[in-house]
């Protein structure tokens, strides 16, 4: 483990081998990646790792004392487990440190076929109660659970006292205040969802139209947002669309505000969290380098009991602003 974080694990994203090297160089403890197919929830064009890429990435990361986690966190289609099982087999054969799974059947396959391969439960499984997490640990040998982004720090602390596994929380990225892995909004407009084919609002269904003073975003042929000249743009997802309700146009589900927990790392540590996850496998290596380095400094300062060093990650956020999200929930 790098840095001075002790038992904390700074888990960082990589969509390409170059981003993996950037994450390692910037101070990641672990890097999570996915294969170039529908077996992971960032199945974007031009992104992700071939088997050969992963082999090289593992050599680089392990050479620097950094772990590599492979996300195989979509749900196999009925009667088609092959690609998902193949991904598990490949991760095991290449020497990945853990896989991140969401599907019960796939977790069971991994437990039976590769019992020595560590299994993390993806946020896509939306497990947030001691009973659910206990089941995954007892029956499927899950070692770590990535918690949904809907819990307060107090709820996480209580959960950690009641579960026999490590927990991991998102510290930077989208707010995603919903039951991840169960959202079908993308399917509603495009027929494709992150849960099955690994893409939310696939780029093939997105068009931008800049009329000069307004940027229109369309998804599946429907206009879902319009940005004035001075507004920041955001991802073209239905949850971040603007709709007219009761005569007023507004964000109904989620505003384009990013999650940034860099200011509350000591509280997350005190709550017993092990993994601190930075989101963004779809982002460039400049994002990876800057955000990982900022969190490396902040985590090390938190472990030493020092105040967080000043950082400015606004330029990396969606919507140009951020909040501590549900960790300091102000809504019920």
């Amino acid at each position: 483990m790098k840095g001075t974080s002790g038992t904390l694990d700074l888990v960082c994203p990589a969509g390409t081998p170059a981003a993996l090297r950037a994450a390692v160089d910037a101070g990641a403890d672990s890097v999570y990646v996915g294969f170039r197919d529908e077996t992971n929830a960032r199945n974007f064009p031009g992104l992700n790792f071939s088997r050969a890429d992963l082999e090289d990435g593992l050599a680089y990361a392990h050479g620097h004392g950094v772990k590599v986690l492979v996300a195989i966190n979509t749900f196999p289609g009925a009667g088609n487990p092959g690609p998902w099982r193949g991904a598990v087999d490949a991760a095991a054969a290449l020497g990945a440190d853990a896989i991140i799974v969401a599907d019960i059947g796939l977790a069971d396959y991994a437990r039976r076929t590769h019992p020595g391969l560590r299994r993390h439960l993806s946020v896509q499984a939306a497990a947030s109660s001691p009973e659910a997490i206990g089941f995954y640990h007892r029956e499927l040998g899950i070692s770590r659970v990535v918690l949904p982004r809907v819990l307060t720090i107090e709820e996480i602390a209580a959960l950690n006292k009641a579960v026999p596994v490590e927990t991991e929380v998102f510290v930077f990225g989208a707010m995603s205040v919903m039951a991840e892995g169960r959202c079908s909004m993308s399917s509603y407009l495009t027929g494709k969802s992150p849960n099955t084919v690994g893409v939310c609002s696939p780029a093939s269904h997105v068009r931008y139209l800049d009329t000069g003073d307004t940027l229109l975003t369309t998804l599946g042929g429907y206009t879902i947002n319009a940005f004035s000249e001075t507004e920041s743009a955001c991802y073209p997802t239905l949850c971040k669309g603007r709709f007219v309700a009761r005569g007023k146009t507004s964000y109904l589900f989620e505003e384009p505000t990013s999650l940034n927990a860099i200011g509350i790392l000591p509280e997350l540590m005190a709550a017993g969290v092990t993994g601190l996850k930075i989101e963004g496998r779809q982002r460039g290596r400049a994002y990876v380098a800057e955000v990982v380095a900022a969190f490396r400094r902040a985590v090390d300062a938190a472990v030493r009991g020092e105040p967080a060093p000043p950082t400015d990650l606004v330029a990396m956020t969606e919507g140009g602003c951020y909040s501590a999200g549900a960790y300091r929930k102000a809504w019920y």
């Binding site: 931008y208 743009a233 460039g284 919507g319």
Partner: protein
Amino acid sequence: MRQSHPLAHRLVPPLSPVLVAGLALRALPPALFQPVLGLAMATMRRRHAGAFERLAGLGEPVFLIDPIDLPYSFVLRAGARAPSLTAIRGGHAVRATATIRGPLLALIDLLQGRIDGDALFFSRGLVIEGDTEAVVALRNAVDGAEIDIAADMASLLGPLARPARRLAGAAGAVYSRLAEDLETLRRAAIAPAMRRAGADAARLDRMDEAIAELRRRMRRGRMEKP
């Protein structure tokens, strides 16, 4: 510089040495740049073949790369069989899979992975049109390729690489000084307008306060009615 394009009034080019150089170069025919562009693409294929492999699922995509501060656009044919980069004037007649528009230095930074494409898009510093999937694939492919233009060009020069690097460093220093001078010029040019805008903003703030006060009084008046 491109009065005919409908987006010309939103994407105003930054006052930079690139803009000045573009104005100075606009009389030159784009074909003059073709040998350098051909060499750049050959180097790209040789040193960054993985980038084309990441684009393989797209067939033979054609990207119109449009630096808003240059009088030229670039047509990138990114199919693995015969990739090419061509400078053109205008670009409206090109049947492009997608168009990517922004300041030249931002596009170069994107190419070299120095800035994050999503962040640039969020800040509205980049405009994309056409097939979004193709643009996302291109962005991911070049970001993953670890392109370093200086190193790529140096690889072509053999023993001349070292002096070329020194020359490039000196040119970079001249560029930085020129950019600073132009920034000073820009500030001086817009200072009177900024002062007027500041005064107008203060006036609008006072008006907002007055309106809010009037509304409060109206509400109180309504509540006090029997």
